[in-house]
């Protein structure tokens, strides 16, 4: 694998996010995108004429607009420029980051602006996702992005009470993080004393996945500006360096589930970090990283995947939640932004993970800034039939 094989280093030098919300009736799609693009340009102190290439991403079938990248030139600023559209499901936003990194690292372009967006209120998310399944079989069976499988597995391994409490505790911590992030779509003001009430009374969606566990459906956009090392050093006093990224796909396996659980295949959210950390010589990821912005589509996944992403064993991940180590002020802060359960404009969501991790490194996260130095950050993306992308960010260009 091609770690440290970049032709040249790449940094994030501009970050723009809209406020995430349930409805944006006041703007159409290009107008909403434009808000994020303008904020990113402003953050980088650039104009659109400084951008060599634009990238655009969102989900297919979510807004029912064909070729949105053409229409959205009004908002992206790509008029007369190179522009690419990417759409890779839930990972779209972070695929944009990987692709922009590759484009700049290759030497093809010096400065790239990527924007991911979604207006989920305009479409039907679950309906759209269901259309990814085989039209002759799975389409009538699949339940969109909703699944109780993860909850069933955690309950099976750790018992009903412990598992349910940990998932709900994760949810409440994320809600409290979201209350400190002004861009977040949802912050309900949840308190720990509501834990048992929510465990019992939040409406069920699929199996033990309840409404409160699941991510929101949000409207919003996120834009990032990437620059080569030379330009980044000239233009920015706080460049955030992209050290490496990994994408792990698997065949469509939504219906693969063995009776003997020891036969389960290694999930991509275990394989991706294993490869990434190995090639970057990171033995103890929990100690190495100062913050992790995880793509947590539900609190069941958010809680369960801590084990996989940090290559932990046994119940270490559950203890991290129980001990509240994942809080902003905790030992291993996870999703200071409030995570995907608090804001989920899907085509932007995975890019927001990188944007938020970069803000943490810059020390610009405001009310949800992790205390102390943030030198090493990790961001993940998740999509479709359970594939995974990870991006590693660094404050200093000092790794070898």
């Amino acid at each position: 694998m091609a770690a440290n094989k970049k032709n040249r280093n790449v940094a994030i030098i501009g970050i723009g996010q809209t406020q995430y919300s349930s409805h944006r009736e006041d703007v159409n799609q290009p107008e909403m995108i434009n808000e994020a693009v303008k904020l990113a340009l402003q953050d980088a102190n650039l104009t659109k004429d400084d951008i060599d290439c634009f990238m655009h991403g969102n989900m297919e079938l979510f807004e029912m607009v064909h070729q949105p990248d053409l229409w959205h030139v009004l908002g992206t600023g790509a008029y007369g420029c190179s522009e690419f559209r990417l759409t890779t499901g839930g990972t779209t936003g972070i695929t944009l980051v990987c692709a922009a990194d590759n484009l700049v690292a290759s030497g093809m372009y010096d400065i790239v602006l990527a924007v991911g967006f979604e207006k989920l209120q305009e479409g039907h998310t679950t309906g759209g996702i269901t259309n990814m399944a085989d039209p002759l079989w799975g389409r009538m069976l699949q339940t969109g992005a909703l699944t109780g499988t993860c909850a069933a597995d955690v309950i099976n391994e750790f018992g009903e009470d412990r598992a349910r409490r940990a998932a709900m505790k994760h949810r409440i911590i994320m809600d409290q993080h979201a209350s400190r992030n002004p861009n977040s779509h949802r912050s309900f003001g949840l308190e720990m004393d509501q834990l048992e009430d929510l465990m019992e009374n939040s409406p069920r969606l699929v199996g033990d996945l309840r409404l409160i566990h699941m991510c929101s459906q949000s409207d919003g956009a996120c834009a990032l500006i990437f620059a080569c090392e030379k330009k980044a050093k000239e233009l920015s006093d706080k460049p955030v360096w992209i050290r490496d990224h990994v994408t792990t796909h698997r065949e469509e396996t939504l219906w693969m589930y063995p009776l003997d659980l020891s036969q389960k295949e290694e999930p991509t959210h275990r394989k991706a970090p294993r490869e990434l950390f190995e090639r970057n010589g990171i033995d103890k990821p929990v100690e190495y990283f100062d913050v992790f912005e995880m793509y947590d589509p539900s609190s069941w996944w958010g809680m369960d995947w801590i084990r996989e992403f940090f290559l932990l064993e046994g119940d270490e991940h559950i203890r991290m939640v129980e001990n509240e180590d994942i809080r902003i002020e905790g030992k291993m802060p996870i999703c200071p932004s409030g995570g995907v359960v608090s804001a989920n404009p899907i085509g932007a969501t995975a890019m927001v993970r990188v944007a938020e991790a970069a803000l943490q490194i810059r020390g610009d996260a405001g009310g949800h800034q992790v205390p102390g130095d943030v030198n090493h950050a990790l961001a993940s993306g998740f999509g479709g039939t359970l594939w995974t992308i990870l991006v590693m960010l660094e404050k200093e260009l000092d790794w070898e």
């Binding site: 159409n28 659109k48 008029y79 305009e122």
Partner: protein, 156 residues
């Protein structure tokens, strides 16, 4: 499918299906003002970019070239314009606004720099000409879409 593949592919066939999904579209502040003026006042509004001087219709929040905010740079356009191009739609499709054959024309309204596509009626296809003067005929039922202009027809 060629002959030798016939046996190998004998089990393959085609299933009729459908893709149906509910969705909604938010016109936004700028788009809504345009549609409401069409619907309630029968006025066609555009926006002018002070930097490049272009007048856009339908209006947009941002000039794609100059990135200027055009949200409050309204100008009223005429209900008449000229045909800048046209085509004749011969094939029927349930998504189209008229039964074929009908004329789809690009129409540059008086005072605008951009042309909009719309249905052209009251003229035979063989008599349509680029440069022909046309006027908007408004719909009697509100649709909250560009079809609040029912069609264009020649100015006699």
């Amino acid at each position: 499918m060629n002959q030798d593949k016939g046996e190998k592919y004998k089990d393959a066939y085609v299933v009729d299906g459908k893709l149906a999904l509910p969705y909604q579209y938010f016109a936004g502040t700028v788009g809504s003002k345009f549609l409401i003026a069409l619907r309630d006042k029968r006025e066609i509004l555009g926006v002018r970019c002070d930097t490049c001087g272009k007048v856009y219709v339908p209006p947009r929040q941002v000039c794609e070239k100059d990135f200027e905010d055009l949200g409050d740079k309204w100008v009223m356009l005429g209900n008449t314009g000229v045909v800048t191009n046209f085509t004749i739609v011969h094939k029927d499709d349930k998504h189209r606004p008229r039964k074929a054959p009908y004329i789809l024309a690009m129409i540059k309204l008086d005072g605008a720099d951009t042309a909009i596509p719309h249905v052209l009626e009251m003229v035979q296809p063989e008599n349509v000409e680029i440069g022909m003067e046309v006027k908007a005929v408004f719909s009697s039922e509100p649709t909250n879409t560009i079809l609040d202009i029912d069609h264009f027809e020649p100015v006699l």
